[in-house]
Amino acid sequence: MEKVVEVNNLKKYYGDIKAVDGISFDVYRGEIFGMLGPNGAGKTTTIEIMEGLRIQDSGEAKIFGLHNIHDREKIKMHIGVQLQETSFIENLTVCETVKLFRNLYNKVGDEAHLISTFFLEDKKNSLIKTLSGGQKQRLSILLSLINDPDTIFLDEPTTGLDPQARRNIWEIIIDLKRNGKTIFLTTHYMEEAEKLCDRVLIIDHGKVIALDSPERLIKENFEETPVDIKFTQSIESLMFDNLNFVSRTLKEEDVITVYMKNFEENLPSLLNFINLRGLKMKEMKIRKPTLEDVFLKLTGRRIRE
């Protein structure tokens, strides 16, 4: 497979803060590659180094085999970029903004068609400052496509959006992949990474924690099944730790999560144990493990804190 992006032992420190601390990965043509991590993990720093907006302290970042800094001008003609929380000139309309970007790339074309594919038709004569977060974000992705790039960098494309707006963006991203684009995105939404990404790079404190497809990450890390239980009274999760079929437990607010081995076999024993202790359950949810569980297992923390 053809490598579009090659990143090798990338480092960027801000004083004592190691924003990016030796990250390596490759991105292949045609995949959706996600970088997942909590806020401050170094996602934006990494993506902006690749875009040529920041200069790394050491290590290598190559896009299409070109050096991220020396060949910055050449690279930017062939990549599309959506910056985190970008805005545009606020008293221009959507249509005028699209035209401006077209002119900057010296491209001619049909604004109306592009605008309608991004569900912005009824907003095309509205000023930027009147757009909602989701509309702005769609415009931002639209503008990243103006130069017909091979590879698109999306920095937290759905942060701050409501679920409906988020699903809209997901559809757009899946369509882009269908049209043969390579997509590099960052996110701190587990669900988004699981849904969209062919491969996920999990980072924390500037370091790579894991890199694989979401399914494999989950499978490799979990043979257990998480069971979320709410009790009528407040109890500690510790009491489940000594059961031989429980690998780990977690208490978050009033929910106790028990990670069970051989779930089908051992569920009766768990219920038995609960009954013997005289505990009453309000709710019990058996679910599939998610990337959230993976992150928790690998770092001991939840991704959103």
Partner: protein, 355 residues
């Protein structure tokens, strides 16, 4: 430098500015309001001869002095108001009369408004002059006129208040248009709009040129409005050295626009950019001889006044708009502004951060 990219960016920034109602108010309407306001406060009196309203009360006029009231009536600069003593004194106290002359036998009592410096310095002196003439006439002496005076009015200094005022306001408007670019620059930076542009083929230089062009176009609009107002409404004496005017216009708008770019560039937020711009705007507006001449201020402020670029731009604008001044008359202004422009532009371009 790609003309197509510069033009597209210029049009975008110009539309953005023209749709900003606050900006239009401050840059286009505010200077006009200032002109209208100040001309209604201080204007009018301009080049007209001064006339004083006085009342002459004939309390006891001796026969041989019966001509006295007529003398005052015919004197230049006096309007005689017919009133009785009580009313006259009342009006004088209210400030509606300059003086009251009471003819009481051979004594003329002169009551005058001592609160108005113009009246208190001129009216008693003028009345004394008339009385001296009368005494000479009454003594029957023929004074040989050895020394004669001849008054020759010179038109050159006949500038009205508005002639001085409008060029200064033009300079001030250019300064504000430029310095308040800080807000735009800071917001483009804070909201990452500039970074996004950096990822397109647009070059930094192209952006700066597009931005400067929008300032120049808006400034041309400001100048046209104010000159038209001066010419058609206030009958301003325009005697312009056009090439020099263009030269100072460009120096001014470039200097102050880059001052704005500099402030926007070093500020961390839109609010702090705005605050800093105000901090530059206020002292310049009041200390640069736009509203009050420099001599109005105490001596410890004089070095500050001499350092401010708007002092020189205001002075130069006055000279090239109403006096058709040659280059040698505004040489100092030109070089001071040139140095300011070079330094500010260089520092602004050096310190400006796109993020």
């Amino acid at each position: 430098m790609n003309a197509h990219r510069v033009f597209s960016t210029f049009i975008a920034l110009l539309k953005n500015l023209m749709r900003d109602k606050m900006a239009i108010f401050w840059f286009m309407i505010f200077p006009v309001l200032i002109i209208i306001l100040f001309s209604s406060i201080f204007g009018g009196g301009g080049g007209n001869p001064v006339n004083f309203d006085i009342a002459v009360i004939e309390k006891d006029v001796p026969k041989n002095l019966s001509f006295l009231p007529d003398v005052f009536e015919n004197a230049d600069n006096f309007n005689i108001v017919k009133l009785d003593l009580k009313k006259a004194i009342k009006k004088l106290k209210e400030g509606n009369l300059s003086a009251v002359i009471v003819i009481d036998g051979e004594t003329l009592e002169v009551y005058y408004n001592n609160s108005d410096p113009t009246i208190s310095s001129m009216v008693p002196y003028m009345i004394n002059g008339i009385v001296k003439e009368i005494n000479i006439y009454l003594s029957g002496m023929e004074i040989p006129k050895i020394v004669k005076t001849k008054s020759i009015p010179i038109e050159a200094e006949n500038f009205g208040f508005i002639d001085f005022y409008i060029p200064g306001i033009i300079a001030m408007a250019l300064m504000q248009l430029g310095v308040f670019s800080a807000e735009l620059m800071a917001s483009l930076k804070e909201r990452k709009i500039l970074r996004r542009f950096l990822l397109t083929p647009l070059k930094k230089g192209e952006f700066i040129v597009s931005f400067s062009l929008t300032r120049i176009i808006v400034a041309v609009g400001q100048v046209l409005i104010m000159i038209a107002l001066g010419h058609f409404v206030y009958k301003m004496n325009i005697n312009m050295n056009f090439p020099l005017f263009v030269c100072f216009f460009l120096l001014g708008i470039i200097l102050f626009s880059f001052m704005g770019v500099l402030v926007g560039g070093i500020s961390k937020s839109v609010e702090s950019a705005n605050g800093l711009a105000q901090l530059i705007n206020f002292p310049m507006m009041f200390l640069s001889g736009i509203f009050f001449t420099a001599s109005f201020y105490p001596s410890f402020l004089q070095p500050v006044i001499k350092a401010l670029p708007l002092t020189y731009l205001g002075n130069a604008m006055r000279n090239v708009i109403i006096k058709n001044a040659s280059f040698s008359a505004v040489k100092l202004d030109f070089f001071v502004l040139l140095i300011w422009t070079v330094v500010v532009t260089a520092v602004a371009l050096r310190l400006f951060r796109w993020e």
